[in-house]
Structure formats: C-alpha cells, structure tokens
Amino acid sequence: MQVASSLREALITGGKTVKDVSHDISRHVENKPTKLWWAAMAVSVAVMAYGFYCLCYLLWEGVGVWGLNKTVGWAWDITNFVWWVGIGHAGTLISAILLLFRQRWRMSINRAAEAMTIFAVICAATFPFAHMGRLWLGFYWVFPLPNTWGSLWANFNSPLLWDVFAISTYFTVSLVFWYMGLIPDFAVIRDRAVVQGAKIRAQVYNALSFGWQGGAKTWMRYESVALILAGLSTPLVLSVHTIVSMDFATSVIPGWHTTIFPPYFVAGAIFSGFAMVLTLLLITRKVFKLEDYITIYHIELMNIIIIITGSIVGIAYITELFIAWYSGVEYEGYAFYNRVSGPFAWSYWSMMTCNVISPQLFWIKKIRTSLVATFVLSIIVNIGMWFERFVIIVTSLHRDYIPSSWTMFSPTMYDIGEYLFTFGFFFTAFLLFAKFFPVINMAEVKSIVKVSSLEKKENASH
C-alpha cells in the first residue's frame, strides 16, 4: 500500500476500499447489460451494418464508388485513416509515457484509453485496405514475403510501406500491453465468479487470465514486463504518427512537402486522442457511475494536455502559413492562399476554429472543470482534427502544380458509409469492451486507494 502525500489531492475519492474497487468495477461485467447498453449496441450495430454494406459495394464495384478523381486520389479514406490513427495515440501515451513518468492519475483511465487505441487502430487499418484498387493482392503484397517471383520485394523507399510496419508494430505492442494489463483483473472477476457460483464465467475468465494466481513472483514479473512494454511503446507513440506524416512530408506536393509534419502530426494525434478519451470516459463515467475513479481532477489534467497539444498544433498551422509566405515558393504560397481563401476555405476555417481557438477556452478553470463544456469541446476538437487531415490531403491535392488538372472533390454516400462503418465498429467494440472487460485497471487503482489508517487519520482531523 502507498504512502499518501498530504500535499497531493487524492486521485480516488469517496473513501474507496480495495474491496469497493473490485466491486464497483466488476459488477458491470457480472450484471446483465442495461437497456441503455442494448439501445446503444443496437444503434452501433445498425450503423456498422449500413457501413458494411457500403464497404462491400466498394469492394464489389471498385474504388470509383467514392468521390475521388484523377487529381484527388485520396480524400476521405486517408483522412479517416490518419484521424483514427491519431485517436489511437492517446492510449499508448497514457499507459506508456505516463507510466514512465510515474503519473499515477493515468491509472483510472489507461484501460479504456488503451481499448480505444486498439479499436481506433483497427478502424484506421480498414481504410488503407479499402482504398486499394486491388485489395485481394494488396493485402499481402505490401508485406515483404518470400515469393515465387524471385527477388521481387516490397519497395522499402515507400512511406506507405513504412506505414505498414509502423501501424502493425504499434497495433501488436498496444494489444499485448493492453491484454497483459487485463490479466490480473480477469483473475479478480474469476475469483468473484467462483464465489458467486457462476461456473461458466469462472471458466471463461480463468482462461482469459491465463490462470493467474497472483503470487509475489508473478506480480514482480508482471511489473517488469509492464515496464519493458512501456519502454517499447514509448518510441512507438512518437514513431507511428511521424511515419504517417511522412506519407505527406516526403512527397513533392505543395502543402504536403513540409518538414514540420512529424512533430506537428504527433502533437495533433495526442490532441485528438485525448479528446476522444474524454468523450468516451465522460460517458462511461456517467453510465457506470465511476465518478470516484475518474474525478474532475483527471478530467482537468487531460484538458491541460489538450491545451498544450492544441497550442502546439496552432503554432504549427501558423508556422506553415509563415513559411508559405517567407519561402517565396509560388506553389506553396498558392497552396496556403487556396486553403485560406479557396473553395475549401470553409474546411480550413472549421479546422482553425475547432483546433486552435476552442481548446484555448480550457485556460479558464471553470470550463476545464466543467463536464458539459469538456464533453462538447472534446467533440469539437475531434471534428477539428478530422478537418485538419481533410485540409492537408484534399486542399493540397485539388490544386497543385499544373492548373489544368485542378478539380474539386465531393464525397459520395460510400465515402460517408465507410466512415460510418468505422464508427459503428468502434462503438460496437467499445460497448462490448465496457460490458465484458473491466473498464478500469483494478489492480493498479488498488495501489492508489488510500489506506484505511490514513482514512481514519483524516476522519479524526475533521
């Protein structure tokens, strides 16, 4: 048990005991799902089904069912891909980097954030697959597999190939990290199931927990693996979006060919990831009555990260504009002139408003500690981050070097449908997660509940 500092605010409120923690978290797994859960599930599955139809139609007919054209070869597909990958950043950042920095407030949120990461990365991965003209070949030709064509390998120069490695590595490490964290908690659910006499549940969770017994040696190993994995994932947090940004930065297209993209993309990813974590946790917290575990303090800290990353992103935007002017490069200049005042200016200004102006409201303590304001702003930030990718991809492509090829882009129902598919999948997966998996890392949270002696001391001082 921990030594509590008298200077720090308690991270878990409500005088929770270790037993309370097990009970509060596990009961959602043990109880029958609520009507609200069923309703949410129905909506998610319906959306996913519609999206799946759109996806199947795309695969049947060809990429032409999207609104892409000879000039704009990527639009919603890669926008959505980058957006989801960005969202996927928060989980690992919270569990890995904050673990290394010994930020204990992460303990209440890391489980859900990691789950979100995994689902978001799956959502993201659907787009590079779906956007391929010949998926049936592409899904394995992009891997450097030995083949019968002699020395025919993937092109290691291509940032798309780097993406394949970056995302698959990131996904694998995140999945392992997440699952490993779940093991002791599965064991708790199993133990409770044994007591409650729920045989099947006990067996299932026993299998899921790999028969965890909780010996001191096991815990020791568990913690060292957690640390190693945290160490492994930390560079990944930075590398994934760096590499994603290189899809653009290594190209020759004005508006893409920008050296500040890697840090700018990473900051943006963390920015959007935290916003998404907030959106999800505020709902989970409310529905599962986890106010004592995810406190206003947690929310405030996350909002502070949003201010920081939002400001970095804002500076990046302004730097881009400055360089476009300062460099004197005509095409770069026009690309940004076109972003600001061209036919897609509305998307640029949506991005600016959502990403640069709105997070600044969090400087006001009242706003950053308000649940409603946080919820609304977290959604706005994610809208803004979607527009950021749209602006980068579409407005750079639609008017590049040769004016004769300038075109507009407008999405079709299949562009929208594919996006909805990922939403449907994401929420379906998240709801399943919330129902069947402990949404808060019980094992870790137990390490920060106040000890009973301290509680007594506190009571005495009143």
Binding site: E61, G64, N69, K70, G73, G133, W141
Partner: protein
C-alpha cells in the same frame, strides 16, 4: 536337431539354385506376373482428390472463348506481325491519305501517309478515330427493304424493277451525295445516269463552301476553289475562318500553317496571324492578334480591310466598312508583305468572298499564297440542293438515291426533306449505317466502311489517291458503286476491276502495268500535277460591298453555328473516341451546349461546371441547350456546335443528344449562312457540362508555360525569361545553381538508349489528333459522360489549354489570376507522362509497381499494381490515370467504351497493349510496344536502331511535327539536334553522353516544373508570339 538336414524346397529350381530362381527368390510368387506398382493407396487418394476437384471445377462454368486457328495460313498474315496498307480516308469532302495498320487481318490503327503531298502524313482527330467506326455495332448487317432485312438479290430485283418503272414514266431520279472526291465513283454515277437519263446528281456539303465557288466563278470565271498555301504567307488575316478545323482542307492547312509558325535558331522569322471572329475557334486561339467581331460584321470588316488596302494600292474604295481593333495594323502588315500575304474568310456568302478575293488580288496573293490548282473538297451546290428539296416537297421527284449522305439530319432543310420524302416513290440509301435519312428510305443498300472498300480520290486536280480494303467486309455490305452499277443493269460490276481499269486508262503511261499498279497501291497516292490555272481577278467588289450592306443587319443576339474539332459535322457522332475527345477550346465532352461570353452569362461561375440552360429561338426553332461560358466570345453572341442532336445514329450519339444546329442555318445571298439573328434567354434550370479541364488560366506559372514575343526572340543571345535557380551554400558567386544540377545521385548511366521527347508549343495548334491516336494505340478506356464529370477520364495524353488572365504584374493577385481575360491569349500544351529520371511516383509505390527502365522510361507493371494511388497523388504533372472501375466487359460502360465491351468493338484493340483491369494505375508508356518493336526489328537485322524508326503514336499523328521523339543518347538523332543535347561530366570530369543528366542548349527548351528536380525526359519549346511586347498578355 543339428543332424536334421532335411531341406524343403519350393521346387527343383531352388534345389538346383537356378540363376533365374535366385533372381526372384524374394518374391512371394516367384516369377508371377509382375505386380503393377503404379497404383498405391496414395495414388488412389490422389486420383480421387483430383477427380473431385476436377468435377467441382467443371461445375463452375468458365466462359468459352473460341479461338479458331487458320487452317491454311493466309499469305502475308503472320501472327503478331503487323501489316501496313496505304489507303485513303474520305468522308464527303474530307480527305486524308493514310496508312492502315492491320494485325491478324484487323485494322487497328490509322496513321498519316507521308507520301501524299496534300496531307503530308498529317491526320486529324476524325481520321484517327475512324478506325473505331469500322467496328460500330450499329452498322447494318445486311441490306434492308421496307424496314426488314433482305438479301441483295431480292433488293436488287425490287429496285431495278422500281427504277425501271420510274424511268419509263419519265420520273425524275435524284442521286444525292456530299462532295465526291473519287473520279471512279463519279464515272460510275455517269454510267448510272446514262442508263437512267432522267437521273440527276445533286451534291451538297454539310459545311458548305458554295459561297467560295460562286465568288470565284464571279472573280475568275470558273467555279473552283484554289489551293491555299499558308506556309508561304508572312501575314495571315482570317475573317472568321477556322481553317485549322473546318476549312476546306484543314489537315493540309494545319501542316502549312505550322511551317510558317516554326522558329529555330536558323529561322527567326514566323508568320503573323490576325483573326477577326465571333467564337473562339482553334484558329483564333493560335492567332497572334485576335479581335472579337459579331457575325453580322464579318462582311463589313472585310470591306473595311479592302478599303484600307485599296487606299494603299490606289484603288477605289467601296461601300462602308466597319473598323475594328487591329484591322489597321493588319492592313499595314498585309501591305508591307505583299506577295507573301493571305486573307481568308469563313463566310459562305459570295459577296464576302468576292471582297476577300479583291483584297488578295491587291496583295498579289494569287500565284504566291493562293495557287491555281483547284481542290475538289467542297463542291456542294446549295441552290441545287435547295431546289431538289423543294422539288421533293412538290412531289416532282420520283426516286432518290442518297449516296452515303444524310441530308435529313445535316441539311438545314432536312425537316422539309423528311416531309418531301413522303411524296417520293422510291427512296434508297447507301449509307453503311441506318441514319436519319436511311430510316425514311424504303431501301438501304449498305456500303462498305471505307476501310473495307476499294476506292480512289482526287483531292486536288492531278493529285490522285487510292483506297484499298484493309479487311474483307465484316457484314453483308456492298460497295455503293457496285450497287449503282447493278441497278444500272451493268454486267461488269466488280468495282475493283473497274477502278483498276479506270486507273489503267486514265493514268497508266506504259511499261509493266502490274508493277505500276503495285507501286500505286504501295504508295497510296499518284501525283501528276498539271499546270496551274491563272487567276486574274475580275470581280465586282463594289456590288459585293453593297450586297453586304443590304444582307447583314445587327440584331441584339447573333449566333454562329460551327463545326468543332471533335464531332465535326456529325457524321461520326456515334464514335465515342470523338465524343470523349475534349473540344480543343472548351474542353467539353459528351455534351452539346452554346457558348456565351462571361459577361452575357451574368453571374454564372466560370470555374464550376454547373451551368444553366438557355432557351434559344433561332430561325423559328426553339431549343434548350446548356450554357458554356467562353472567354474570347464576342459580346451578345452565341456559338452552337454542329454535329449534335442526332436522332438515329447509334447509341453513343443518341445518348449525347443535343440539338440539331443545321436547322438554324438559312440561305443568304444564294448560299447557306451559318450565322444570323437569335433569341437567347438563360433559364433557371441547372445543368452540368462534362469538361476535362475546369481551371483555365495557368496562374502566371512560368514554370508551366513559357512564352516570348518574336522581337525578343530575335535578339542575339536571347534567353528565356524564367530560369529557376536554387540557392546553395556553395562558394560560387551568386550561390545559385540550376535545379537539375543538385542531385543525391551522380553518374547514373543509360548505356543503351535514352528516350526523350520535345514538344514545340509554337507549332502545336491544339488540334488533339494525337489524343485520339494515343487512345487507339494504347487501348485507353473511354469512360462516358458521368465519369468525366467525376473527373476520371483516362486519357494518357491531354492537351492543356490555358487562357491568359487580365492580371498585371504590378497589381498581381491570385484571385485575379484565376479568371480568364475577356479576350484571352491561348496556349496549348500537350501533357503526358514526363518520364522523370527522378520520378516521384516511383519512390512512393509500396510494391514497386512503377519503376524506371534502363532507357529512361518510367514503366508501369500493371500486374504488380495494387492501386494505392499514391503515385498519382505524388505526380506533379497529374498524368496518371486510375481504373476506378472495370471498364472492360462491363455493361455499364458498353456505350462509352465499345472497344472493350462488344465483341465487334474488341477487334480494334491493339494486341500489343494490355487492357488494364480494375484497380490499377496506368499512364503514358512512350509507346513502349513501338520501342520494343523497333528494337527487335533492328536486332533481327543485326544493326543499331536508326533514328526515326521508333515513332510514338502521338508523334505520328501530329500534322505539324510539334512532337519529336527519339534517343537523346544518339547525338545524331533529330531530337538531340533539335534540343542541342549536351552531355554532362562524369566523376572523372569527362563528358559522357550516357549519363542521365543532359543539358538542352536550345534556348527555347525548358522542362515543366524544372525547379522541383524530378528531371523529366520531355522538353517543351517555349511559345513565341509574333506580336509587340506591350500587347502580349503576360499571364
């Protein structure tokens, strides 16, 4: 037991240890019949597995495609080896001498024939596209009588019978045709007329030149059209003549015009071209000075020009003209280059042409730029045709034979004719397709497509041309000449024999006939130019000026009906190659529209393709057509392309629809007038016109378009204005180097060939023949209107057309640069894969599907492509095209892309080029199949590849020679000499031509987007305008 020596033996053999026995001692059954060890249990399972899977596979029905081999190999047909036949394209009065490429008996490509001194190897979009018309699914399969299929015997019997009874009753028989260039056909018609003395031959042309014929009859005493030579003219003034597209002989004119426009270091002079016109025509787009006039002013501008020159020549002035911008400059320039000047007018009015003849006479053009060799292109007689239609309406025509023409559609009085035909007893059409006229005929006796038929042509007096079939008739068609002969009761009806005998009697001068005839067939042309007719002008200009003053009155709105560079007069409207070919000026495809100036179109946003319908009332006819906003269009005028609104031409043309603009044409001064008063109102209804280019200015980007004016270019040591340089840390004086000199890689070699291309923006007229040639050569998919609106046309080669904007450098703003000027300068830039040596597409492909060859080609391995489109995004030139859908064997694209969706259409596919599947990227390959063919040919003959052996399809199609392709490793190649290719230095500081980096010393040569360092293998030669620097619009 040890003692027991009892031995049991199987037989005596064992006892005796017989050697035969010992051999088989291990076998249980001794020498029993040998066991068949071939079938083990495993084999059984294997067989069963195979059997089951074979049954399962057989259950999945695979499409059966029959490939029937030759039983006896025909002579000259070698699989995969192309044969070439010289032939002749004729379509009414249009002519082109061609070479047909035939693979396994199927014509797949038409190229120009350079042996012809009329077309000199040039082609046009229509000529290039005509090969697909051969495989048109809407062609007639057999003759038709009274709307049902019949046999030739039956048809002939009825027709002979009917014509006989008409002849006996003395009824009038009319043979209606467009201009017939073929002397043998004319002789055939004469034979027919001999049999039926009441027969009359009526000739009309869709776009008539009857006014010129009449004017020349008045001016010179003979109704003929002389040969124009634009190459000899230093100053060309055109009053609304689009001689590069729809003039009398556009292919010839394009070639000559380009000769005059060509500049180089040893030729620093070029022609100056003034254009006065209403719509922005292709010719006007190439002009140095262009003035917008209204159609009613054409005559008055001519008269004014006459008066201006008459004042200098000391002749009396006539009538009252109208002075317009640049007209005085034009007059001064013309007068200054007397004898090397040429004035042409597009008007079909005799009076206007007489005035122009008068001007040319004063300028001494006759005998210098206008030669007395009569051309036979447009011989139509508007009055005779009008009289025929009136006769038909009056019921005075007993029988009519429409010889390969379609006047119900393409004559202004077509509707009257359709009415009149009801009163005609016998109606016969010989068109190879059932068209608007054929539908009204009782009998259709389908002629061959020109590629299936023997024929000849005399485009100019003394210049003969022969057409030989490149394929035996696909359907049960018959040469129209043969039909006429059969109906005339001739016994000798083999048109080939007749043609051969005609040539023998007309042109053969002795010697070995077979050898002579073979030579004629080989060359495709026979040229025996006679003496030129002396042209001495005796026209009455004053009367003409008076007639002009009477006939033309300005009205609020005026229209011009014109032939565009794609669908043309509409006879090939069912050819999707032409429907999907962007109009050289408007860049619109698959749509009929009216062009209106930006001011008149009001608030319509020019860039967005969304537009409004206009309600038009012309010549009493009301039509609704979408508006296309056109810079350079004279105010309060509308332009309407001819050739649309076909109602019976096949699926393609009928899908496009539109309005028939021939109905707007009226008779003025005894000939057809393609302009007049109109009533125009924009409606509220919106429409989207499919265009392939939606932004029209080049934004002042000199890296894309580089221009200069002649006076600058003539200066010694002239350098292009735009010379990008990159600042470096180096200790050179200005710290600047050329972008091409910066590289991470040095000393890369192309040891064998290094393919490159030069495109001269000065001689490119933008005619787009190369685009069609590229489509046909490379099996490029045609995607249809919807997909063009989605901006997904597949053209590997496109012609970018840019207008100048009104923005000035001192008040530069991007916003202003985005909009075209009211009367813009125009530049055409053929844009195709630049085959970059540092190709940005190659590095980004995750599967290495696009790679660089050892000869500098940027190659696509379709089979490896997974379709991420990253390469297309990263292509700075945006020349990569993605197969968004399956364009072949897909009913969705059957109309727009018959070449890949119908069995008949597929015959046109080039077997050397893969048809691309869905989901892969494609782009220009520099005709790699032609390169390969050339290399293999040279290899077989054990010799190096000669320069000029490999010609890309676009280069071959280019009438003006603006495209030069070749090996820039070869210092003697045409391209190396043109560009003045200089090798760079290798590591050892020695010049090495095989190094990738080469320098082009031609001062006009530049590479598009040079500064981004992708090092293209295509150089453009900067455009030179022959105008004063002050007036050149800079952006």
């Amino acid at each position: 037991m040890e003692e027991s020596k009892k031995i049991y033996w199987k037989g005596l053999e064992q006892l005796t240890n017989d050697s035969e026995f010992v051999k088989h001692a291990d076998n249980e059954f001794g020498q029993a019949p040998e066991e068949n060890t071939g079938h083990s249990r495993r084999d059984f399972l294997r067989m069963m597995g195979f059997g089951m899977s074979a049954v399962a596979l057989a259950a999945c029905e695979a499409p059966i495609r029959k490939a029937i081999p030759y039983v006896n190999k025909p002579m000259d047909v070698d699989p995969s080896i192309a044969n070439y036949y010289a032939s002749t394209y004729t379509n009414g009065g249009d002519y082109c001498s061609i070479v047909v490429k035939v693979r396994e008996g199927r014509p797949i490509k038409v190229d120009g024939n350079s042996l012809s001194s009329v077309t000199k190897g040039g082609t046009s979009a229509q000529v290039e596209a005509s090969v697909l018309s051969l495989y048109d699914n809407s062609r007639l399969r057999a003759p038709k009588a009274f709307n049902s299929k019949t046999t030739w015997e039956n048809l002939d019997k009825i027709i002979i019978d009917k014509l006989g009874s008409v002849a006996t009753s003395g009824g009038k028989i009319a043979i209606v045709s467009n201009t017939i260039l073929s002397p043998s056909t004319k002789a055939t018609i004469d034979k027919f007329k001999a049999k039926y003395p009441s027969a009359q031959h009526v000739v009309y042309d869709q776009v008539s030149a009857y006014g010129i014929l009449k004017a020349n009859e008045e001016s010179f005493g003979t109704a003929m059209i002389p040969s124009y030579d634009f190459s000899k003219a230093n100053v060309i003034v055109s009053i609304a003549s689009d001689f590069l597209t729809s003039g009398v002989s556009p292919i010839e004119a394009t070639k000559q015009y380009a000769q005059g426009r060509e500049v180089g270091e040893d030729k620093k002079e070029m022609s100056r071209h003034y254009q006065f016109e209403t719509i922005l025509s292709l010719t006007g787009a190439n002009a140095d000075y262009r003035t917008m006039i209204r159609p009613s002013e054409e005559g008055a501008v001519g008269v004014e020009l006459y008066n201006l020159i008459a004042a200098k020549a000391g002749r009396a002035s006539v009538g009252k003209g109208k002075s317009v911008t640049y007209l005085e400059d034009a007059a001064n320039d013309l007068w200054a280059s007397r004898g090397k000047a040429l004035v042409v007018a597009g008007s079909n009015d005799k009076a206007v042409q007489v005035v122009v003849n008068g001007i040319n006479d004063m300028l001494g053009s006759y005998g210098t730029t206008i030669l007395g060799t009569p051309v036979n292109f447009r011989q139509g007689n508007d009055e005779a045709m009008a009289n025929f239609i009136k006769d038909a309406e009056a019921g005075n025509v007993a029988a009519v034979i429409f010889y390969n023409c379609n006047p119900v559609y393409d004559h202004p009085m077509g509707a009257n004719l359709a009415e009149g035909l009801k009163k005609v007893g016998v109606k016969i059409s010989t068109a190879y397709k059932e068209d608007e006229t054929g539908t009204l005929a009782d009998f259709i006796a389908p002629d061959h497509h020109y590629l299936e038929a023997w024929n000849d042509a005399e485009p100019k007096k003394g210049y003969y041309s022969i057409a030989q079939p490149a394929i035996s008739p696909i359907f049960k068609s018959r040469a129209a000449q043969e039909s006429l002969l059969v109906w005339a009761g001739e016994t000798n009806v083999d048109y080939f024999e007749i043609l051969k005998n005609n040539w023998k009697s007309w042109f053969f001068t002795g010697g070995n006939f077979q050898a002579w005839w073979d030579k004629c067939l080989y060359d495709g042309v026979l040229e025996k130019p006679g003496a030129e007719v002396a042209l001495s002008f005796a026209g009455n200009v004053s009367a003409a000026a008076d007639s002009i003053a009477v006939n033309y009155k300005a009205s609020e709105w005026e229209f011009v009906a014109y032939e565009n560079g794609t669908v043309g007069n509409g006879s090939q409207a069912n050819n999707p190659l032409l429907q999907e070919l962007p109009d050289p000026i408007t860049k619109a495809v698959w749509d009929h529209y009216v062009t209106v100036s930006a001011k008149d179109a009001g608030d319509l946003d020019f860039r967005e393709a969304k537009t409004l319908y206009a309600n038009l009332k012309i010549n009493g006819k009301e039509v609704k057509l979408p508006i296309l906003v056109q810079p350079g269009q004279a105010p309060r005028t509308i332009g309407i392309p001819l050739g649309y609104g076909r109602t019976k031409a096949g699926k393609v043309a009928e899908t496009v629809g539109g309005a028939n603009a021939y109905g707007f044409v009226t008779m003025v001064n005894g000939s057809l007038s393609f302009s007049g008063a109109a009533d125009f109102k924009a409606s509220e209804e919106t429409y989207q016109i499919a265009t392939t280019q939606t932004h029209h200015t080049y934004m002042g980007r000199q890296t894309v378009i580089q221009e200069t004016v002649l006076s600058e270019f003539q200066q010694k040591d002239w350098q292009r204005e735009y010379q990008p340089a990159v600042s470096t840390w180096s200790d050179q004086e200005d710290h600047k180097v050329k972008p091409g000199e910066l590289s991470m890689w040095k000393g890369h070699h192309y040891n064998n060939h290094h393919w490159g291309m030069a495109i001269d923006l000065n001689t490119c007229t933008g005619c787009a023949a190369c685009v069609v040639a590229c489509n046909v050569e490379n099996n490029v998919s045609l995607v249809g209107r919807e997909e063009v609106i989605n901006r997904r046309e597949m053209h590997w080669l496109r012609i970018d057309r840019y207008y100048s904007s009104a923005v000035q450098p001192e008040s530069w703003s991007w916003k202003q640069a985005e909009a075209a000027a009211e009367n813009p300068e125009v530049v055409f830039q053929p844009m195709l894969c630049q085959h970059c040596n540092n190709a940005p597409c190659e590095t980004v492909c995750p599967v290495a599907a696009t790679t660089h060859s050892t000869e500098g080609l940027n190659q696509m391995a379709y089979n490896r492509c997974i379709g991420t489109r990253y390469c297309a995004n990263n292509c700075p030139y945006k020349v990569r095209r993605f197969n968004w859908f399956k364009y072949h064997d897909n009913q969705q694209f059957a109309t727009s892309n018959p070449a890949m969706n119908t069995d008949l259409g597929k015959m046109v596919l080039n077997p050397d080029v893969t048809v691309r599947s869905r989901g892969v990227m494609e782009k220009c390959s520099f005709c790699v199949q032609r390169i390969q063919n050339g290399k293999l040919g040279a290899k077989k003959e054990r010799r190096p590849l000669q320069d000029g052996e490999v010609v890309t399809a676009c280069q071959a199609a280019c009438s003006t020679g603006a495209i030069v392709f070749g090996d820039i490793n070869n210092p003697d190649s045409k391209i190396s000499k043109l560009l003045k290719i200089r090798p760079t230095k290798n590591k050892d500081d020695k010049e090495d031509i095989t190094l990738v980096d080469k320098i082009a010393d031609n001062p006009r040569a530049y590479q598009v987007l040079e500064e981004i360092g992708v090092k293209p293998n295509i150089w453009y030669l900067a455009k030179v305008r022959n105008k004063s620097k002050v007036e050149a619009q800079v952006n």
